[in-house]
Every structure is written in structure tokens, then in C-alpha cells.
Symmetry: C2
Subunit: 454 residues, 2 copies
């Protein structure tokens, strides 16, 4: 296979080197499977040639962006070819006059954000890994982030795609227009398809005028339930913050252990309320929100008036993750979602789960849209004896989520990590629709086989 691919693409785009196979066997999840060969595509034509070849020879192809996925989506579980688009990393066009950017899939998300900001424009989706992850991966997983509360997820910013289909056919869906009702929503169908329906080789992304200003309030509360109630109060009072982030007592304790007891004001729950807009709007909204937080019973409220101050809070927030890692335990990070009114019940359930299983559970995340990262902190997950009860605890978590009309993944995708609960989550008829669409576009299951459609 290596020789045939070299004949198609040239030697510098094809590797079977041990280190290349190893780095392309994993993403950020806890499972590795080696490909037989890694292809570094440099153009749409390269991708098309690889897929035509793979299609003809029924060789699995797993597409890879920056390899920052959290669910094993880019892990080539059936071997074959890993097709990396990392070298396709050019911003082809930045066109504020049309309100769009045209990018290759390997562009790092923050690179686009920065380039847009330089000309006064904004690409809002902000997954936590935005400095490392690529837009192709964001599109494949329909990535989210804190600011999706106000701005929506990746799919809300994809206007058009160039896609290579399973047999190598190149097609375009959507386009350069901000509204487009020409046929089915094919652009959206490819967004979030996790490499199972086609390979994105170019994306036309919506950018919007950059907000003039952002600012933030942080508050602590005696109880998680009070912080959750404050979230509802804020939204019910006609405010739509750019982000509403909540953190539970367990996570705060880990942060205080790691960063020092004085790193955070007292309280068993922490809330971040970020807003953006025109200068004057932000200035006027801050005291309104402060008053709401105060009435909601906040123990402490701090105001962060500019970009640097906001970034410092986000940095602290990221330290929460490092604090959990510093416990020495394996963090099973599940990006579940609940209807927003169920936030308190979710955290209560997490506490019960921790008590019943002896596995600590840390909850923090995007309170505004109910997308909470529930982290099971597991000792020696590689030890089968420890893995078994941890996996049983995950089953309990996901059963609870589904019983409460939640979703098993909000922004990471299904990949391998959530595969076990996928059919239960969508139900039989929905699963059949998935299969029908997969069969319609990739009947031989060449594209990313072994994932949530088996």
C-alpha cells in the first residue's frame, strides 16, 4: 500500500516511520491503534486520490486534523490509512466585505481568530484547545466552547464546504452567501459527521464584527444550587452573556489545594459571567449584573473590566483542569449536557455517584447551555480491576443523563469514547436513519470505520 500511495502522491507525503505511526495512533483520549500508513495531504487533489485508491481497495481511511480530539475520533481503530490534513493549513482568504474567511482544514482555530481580530472581525467558536486544535477538527466535531451560549457552535459559522466523498469525488456544499436555501442542509450534515461521510478540504466560515469590548464578573456562592439559580435569574432578566461558566465544590477544593487556599474567594460554587458588546453597553450592563448576583446571594463578586483581566480569569479557569490532573488521578472528562433546569440535579447526582462508587466526580462547565464537563477522577484506569468499576460508574452517569433528557456529548463528539451509549441515546429509528445516510454516502465504510456506526 505504501508504494502505491507514494506512486500517487510522492514520497514526502507518505510515511510508515515508527514515530509517525505512533503519533498518528492516538488523540487526547486514552486509546491507541496504529495505522498502516500515514498520508500527509497537501491539496484537495491529494485527498481525492487517496480516497479513490482506498475506495477501490476497501482500505479504511481515518482523517486527522491536529489530533486534539477528546473521544478517539481520529484513532484508526481498523488500521489502514491515517489521512492527515495538517499540512493544509492556509487561510486562503479573509474577506470582511463578504463577512467570511476561506480556510484549509489544518488552520489552527486561534490563528483564524487572531487574523480576523487584526482586521476588526471575529470568529466566535472557542473550544478550550483553540491554540492547538484545527478548524477541520472543529468542523468534524461541531466544536463548541464557553461563548457558544451567545454565539452558537461551529455549525453556525460554516457557510460552505469543499468535501471529498468516499469514492474521491470532490463536491461543494453551501457557498459564500449568508443565507442559502438551495436544497438540503448538506453543509450542516457534513459538519459534525466525525469523518464518517466525507473529508473537508476547504471551509468558508462566517465572521462577524468584533465586539468592541468585553468584561466579566466572577462570583462565589455558598451552595452550587445558588449559583445555578443565579444563572437562571440572569437569563430571565433579559441578559445574554457571552459565557456563563459554573464550577462545583470538588473542583474548587482541588484548585485551592493546587493553587493555594487564597487563590479563590470562599464559597462552594464559582460563577463566571462574561459579556461583550459596545463599550457603553458593557459599562452599563456590569452594575446590572452585579446587582443580580448580589441579590442571588453571592458571597463575593469581582469585576474584570478589560481583555487582560478577562484572560486572567480564563487562565485561572484552565488551572482548574490542571488542579484536577495534579491529583494524580485519571480524569475521565465527559462533556454531557442537560436541559438547563436540571443543573442542580446533575450535580447532586454526581455527588451521589461519587459517594456510592468512591470515585471522586468534579463538575464544571458551560452552565448557560447546560453543557457541564463531568470528570470522573479514577485511580489507575489502565488497571482492568480499576477500569471496570469506573466504566460501570460511567454507565450510571450516562443512564441518568439519558433518563433526564440530556445528551451524551455536547461538543467533543461520539468517537470511540461514547460509542457504547450511542444507540441508546438516539433510539432505534434514529440509528437507522444514521445508517441509511452512511450507506448512501459510504456503502463500503471506508471512512473512519469502527466508530459510532460500527
Amino acid at each position: 500500500m505504501q508504494q502505491e500511495l507514494i506512486a500517487l502522491l510522492g514520497a514526502d507525503k507518505v510515511s510508515v516511520a515508527t514515530d509517525d505511526l505512533a503519533t498518528h495512533a492516538i488523540d487526547k483520549w486514552n486509546f491507541a491503534a496504529s495505522p498502516e500508513v500515514v498520508v500527509f495531504a497537501e491539496s484537495t487533489d491529494d485527498v481525492s486520490k487517496v480516497l479513490a485508491f482506498a475506495h477501490q481497495n476497501k482500505i479504511p481511511v481515518t482523517t486527522r486534523g491536529a489530533g486534539i480530539g477528546y473521544v478517539g475520533g481520529a484513532v484508526p481503530i481498523q488500521g489502514g490509512i491515517v489521512l492527515s490534513v495538517a499540512r493544509m493549513n492556509q487561510i486562503l482568504e479573509l474577506a470582511p466585505a463578504d463577512g467570511l474567511a476561506v480556510v484549509q482544514p489544518g488552520v489552527i482555530t486561534k490563528t483564524l481568530q487572531d487574523s480576523a481580530a487584526e482586521v476588526g472581525w471575529y470568529y466566535p467558536p472557542d473550544p478550550a484547545s483553540l491554540k492547538e486544535c484545527s478548524l477541520g477538527g472543529n468542523i468534524a466535531t461541531n466544536a463548541g466552547g464557553p461563548r457558544c451560549l451567545k454565539y452558537g457552535v461551529t455549525k453556525n459559522y460554516v457557510m460552505g464546504l469543499e468535501v471529498v466523498l468516499a469514492d474521491g469525488t470532490i463536491t461543494r456544499v453551501g457557498g459564500r452567501c449568508h443565507k442559502n436555501k438551495t436544497g438540503f442542509s448538506l453543509t450542516e450534515l457534513f459538519v459534525g459527521s466525525e469523518g464518517l461521510l466525507g473529508i473537508v478540504t476547504e471551509a468558508t466560515l462566517r465572521i462577524i464584527p468584533h465586539p468592541q469590548r468585553r468584561a466579566m464578573l466572577t462570583a462565589t456562592f455558598a451552595q452550587f444550587s445558588e449559583a445555578a439559580a443565579a444563572v437562571q435569574t440572569i437569563l430571565n432578566s433579559g441578559h445574554l452573556p457571552s459565557a456563563l461558566e459554573i464550577t462545583d465544590a470538588f473542583t474548587l477544593q482541588a484548585a485551592r489545594d493546587y493553587l493555594g487556599a487564597d487563590s479563590l474567594p470562599a464559597g462552594e460554587a464559582h460563577l463566571i459571567v462574561e459579556i461583550d458588546g459596545r463599550n457603553s453597553a458593557v459599562e452599563a450592563e456590569l452594575p446590572e449584573l452585579e446587582s443580580l448576583l448580589s441579590t442571588a446571594g453571592a458571597l463575593s463578586i469581582e469585576t474584570h473590566r478589560d481583555d487582560a483581566a478577562c484572560e486572567a480569569v480564563w487562565k485561572l479557569r484552565r488551572e482548574f483542569s490542571y488542579s484536577l490532573r495534579a491529583t494524580g488521578l485519571t480524569k475521565l472528562n465527559e462533556d454531557i449536557v442537560v436541559p438547563r433546569s436540571k443543573l442542580v440535579e446533575l450535580v447532586e447526582f454526581a455527588q451521589e455517584l461519587a459517594a456510592n462508587t468512591g470515585i471522586p466526580v468534579a463538575c464544571f462547565g458551560h452552565a448557560g447551555d447546560g453543557n457541564i464537563h463531568v470528570n470522573l477522577m479514577v485511580e489507575d484506569y489502565d488497571d482492568p480491576e480499576k477500569k471496570k468499576p469506573a466504566d460501570a460508574a460511567l454507565d450510571q452517569l450516562f443512564n441518568w443523563i439519558l433518563a433526564n433528557r440530556g445528551a451524551i456529548t455536547g461538543e467533543h463528539g461520539v468517537g470511540l469514547a461514547k460509542k457504547r451509549w450511542f444507540q441508546q441515546a438516539v433510539g432505534e429509528a434514529n440509528f437507522s436513519v444514521h445508517q441509511a445516510i452512511k450507506n448512501a454516502l459510504d456503502v463500503d465504510a471506508v471512512l473512519n470505520p469502527g466508530k459510532f456506526l460500527g
Copy 2:
């Protein structure tokens, strides 16, 4: 067929009465085709039974909401059954705590907007016909409207759907969560599918905190190009208005003829800039925008500070349409879209087209997203001798649109009206993907046959 349907559903849900057949033979476009029978479904179960029956007997089923479509999408061009969901018109749930409403497809769009507003929440999509059209139709066509510039189109507000598939199977896609990455974007796939992939029997729609205030500036300019430049200036200055609406000289002349010469300030182009947000934000932004408009060369600028004043402008704006109708000509309203930087070229092309064909062309619409309603004003369109050159002019328009990377429909859908340009618009490979998906979900073409997939 009538008797079998009565046996399935009961006599009061099935009609072959002449007037029912006649009213269900048309929508707002200019073509009629009578169904053999009209079914008034009252439940998901009714819809499922009809589709199972139709599927078994290969009878065409054309779904109908309020019948307000502009492209013949609900016209049963191959006869068979028109399945009306107009009786399924209940708001099942309004849940601000979860940020959502659950509705049946027959709910009138404005009814939901009003119900949400009463509890301080907002359902933004605002097609011009929102007092008459229904949410099921909005979903089928992915309806837009002026405020989509800031808030996005219908698909951005659909969280979950109950859908009856071609064979009568009931499925659910998406759900009650604001983020959901469980599998493919099936919710989005059904949104905008114009009745070709399934029938929506329930929708879970996102609502957001209601903006506290809205206000508006209206301005006139000596030239259309100056108004279009002002649109770019506003967006390039970091403002994201809720609406940016532009009107050309021909339309303004018709309005002055119809409403009186003094109904509008002097100028060959008219711009509406609507903003919303917190009180203080709106107050501060109005003078900033006024200054931008002034610098952009506006001949007149008027400020409209509250809801009532804004509504008066929207009422005037609707009169522009009536003014065109008052010319006595048939208005062929094409909701084309261009990349925003092409606005001026579009209107110049429209003027040339008018000059070359003798058919007046009126342009007005959503400048912010490039979605301009281009209205060809045709005399005696029913007369084949007049229809022919008008259709040839439409061909010229759509050829120009596609050559300039525009879209043939921004918010009305393809239906019958745009069918003739659909394949050209999407290209061969994309068309094949459409067919593959249609075949995967409705291989016998029971659902809305004769539309853009033949």
C-alpha cells in the same frame, strides 16, 4: 383512497370537498395542482398512519402548513394526498428555564413570538409573513427574515424534532439540550428539506432572553452605491445591527407614487438600521450609528426610539411591497443572495436587465446578509407570449447570480419556482448527494414528489 383514509382516521379528518381541494392546490406562488384528497392530521399518530398507507400504495404525499410558501413547495404537483398539519397548532410547552419551546408544526410563527415575549423571552426568526405562516413551514424552508443578520435563520433555533419518515416510522432527532453532538446533524438535515425527507410533527425550539429595547435609524442616500457602502462601514465599525435593510430607486418611486410624494425623504436609496439590546446600549449606539450614516453621505437620517416607532417603519416597509403590487403588474419575487460585496453590482445588473428586457425590476431586502428580493414586474404573466420573455429574463438573472457566486434562494426555498435552476446551482456531484440522501430516506419518492429532485 378517500374511504381507506376515512377508515384510518375518521371522516372529519379527510376531505374531497371542492373548496378544500382548491385551497390546498396552491400556495402564494403562481401555480395550482389539485390533490385527490386532503387529510387534516391532528396528531403524530395520524401522520404516521397516512404515511404508512401512502408508502404501501405509492401515493404522493405533499405536506402543508399554513400554505404561505412563495415557491410552490406545498403544491401537490403529482396529485395524491395533501397532508395538512394546520390543526396541529398547539404550543405544547414554553420553558424559559430550559430556554426552549415545544410546538406543533401548525403554530403560527407570531403566536410563538408573542407567547415567548409575554414571559420575557424571544423567538427571533421573523419571515415577513410571520402573522400567517406556521413554524412547520418555517422549518421546512429554513425561513429567514430581516433579523437573521444578527440572530440567524430558523435552523439556528431548532434544537430537536419529532419526524415521521416516509414509511410512517416515527423518530426523534436532536432534543432538549442547547448543545448536542450525538451523531450526525439530522435535525439540521430535516430543517429546510421542504417536505422531501419526512414530516415534522413536533419541534423543540430555542428561545433567548428578550432584548430589553430596540430602536432604529432610517436614512436616504443619493445613490444606491452609497447606501451599500454605508452597510459595509457599519459592519466594519464593529456594529452588528439586528437588521440592515436596503431599498432601491425603482421601489422608492413606486412607494412615492402609491403613498404620496412626501411619504419618504428625498433620495434614490433607503436604508433601515435596526438595533436591539439593553436600554443603555441602544441609547449609546444610536448616535454612533447616526454619525457613521452622516459620514457615509446620508441625505436624511431619522431616529426611531421605541417599539411603536420601529413598527411604523416596518409597516412603511411592507407598503413598499403593496406599492409594487399597486402597479398592476405581476411581481415575480426572487429571494436571491449575493456575497455582500456584490450588492452594488447586483443592482446595476438589475437595472441593465430592466433596460434590456423592458421589464421593470425592483430590488429591496436584507442588505446585511446579501439577501435581496429582486422583483421582476411583469405584465400579463398568464399570457404565454408575455411569460416567455419574463422567464428568459429570470434565466438571465439566475445565470448572473450563479456566475457571481450567489445563491438562487436565501429563505423561500426551491419548491417549483426555482426547480429549473437547481441542478445548475448545486452542480453534479452535490446533486448526486441530494439524490443519494433522498433515496436513502424515501426510495419510492412518496414525499413531495416533483419538486427539486424530480
